[in-house]
């Protein structure tokens, strides 16, 4: 390879674009898990859906969407060199993520009128929300790591790949819920 190409390939911008492709391919792959779960939900439950608390569903959904808003704010702040804004946004996102987990695993799972071993309804509900919650949890851990490293000054407006990766992953977790929410709470009639 010519020396100019070697130099160009070792530049930050080139590696950033390479990392970006890697991240999106990972997300594409992960999307297939959730796609498979959606297929299973409609194959087994068809026109019926679990009996769930609609208010709670709307609340946790709103929290997650709000968290995406703050994640976007945090990433935007970092892209413009505003470290304080970035830290604030990241922390709020993290807190909202934890609140979501409390809402789903802490409350919804406890008040649901069926257990995991209660037939297909329980199986589908707990597996879908469980897989999603696992991704929220890993997202929260990612946020905590990025927050801490951000506080120690590791990111700049020009170089903040970890922040971008964290944000894209977090938004992906939100997009999954955008489909899981209607699939579990809204589409179909409550099973008898």
């Amino acid at each position: 390879m010519s020396t100019e190409t070697l130099k160009y390939r070792s530049e930050y911008k080139y590696k950033l674009a390479t990392n970006r492709l890697g991240l999106w391919l990972f997300i594409l792959s992960d999307a297939f898990v959730f796609g498979g779960l959606l297929v299973a939900r409609f194959y087994l439950l068809g026109d019926t859906r679990p009996e769930l608390d609609q208010t709670l569903g709307l609340i946790v959904t709103s929290i997650l969407l709000l968290s995406s808003f703050f994640m976007n704010r945090a990433e935007t702040a970092m892209a413009h060199g505003d470290r304080q804004g970035f830290l604030r946004g990241t922390l709020i996102t993290l807190v909202l993520g934890v609140v979501f987990l409390v809402g789903v695993v802490g409350v919804e799972w406890q008040i649901a009128p069926f257990k995991a071993s209660d037939g297909v309804i329980g199986s589908i509900f707990y597996t879908m929300t469980g897989f999603h919650a696992f991704h929220v949890l890993t997202g929260v851990i990612f946020l905590a790591v990025v927050y801490r490293n951000g506080r120690n000054g590791h990111y700049s407006a020009e170089e903040h790949w970890a922040v971008e990766a964290c944000a894209v992953y977090w938004h992906f977790v939100d997009v999954v819920w955008i489909f899981f929410y209607p699939a579990l709470y809204l589409i179909g009639t409550v099973a008898g």
Binding site: K13, Y14, A17, R20, L21, W24, Q54, L58, T61, S62, L65, L66, S68, F69, M71, N72, R73, T76, A77, A79, H80, G81, D82, G85, A167, V168, H171, F172, D174, V175, I178, F179, Y181, P182, Y185, L186, I187, G188, T189
Partner: protein
């Protein structure tokens, strides 16, 4: 200049949130009212996902040439 760019981006992020909120309330009301049609609810979900993927995840950045 930097501040202007940031403010614009913040504003865009806020508009997206408003759109998402409106769509979410819309689908909630549809379901509560009993109109649980697959097609409309799936369409709303796809719309919400589009806004997040386009404006928050910045998918177009993946296809930018350097």
């Amino acid at each position: 200049m930097e501040e202007n760019g940031k403010k614009q981006a913040y504003q865009m992020g806020f508009y997206v949130l408003v759109v998402l909120a409106v769509l979410t309330i819309g689908e909630y009301l549809l379901a509560v009212v009993g109109a649980t049609w697959w097609s409309v609810l799936i369409f709303i979900a796809i719309l919400k996902a589009y806004f997040v993927v386009q404006n928050y995840m910045h998918l177009p950045r993946l296809f930018e040439s350097e």
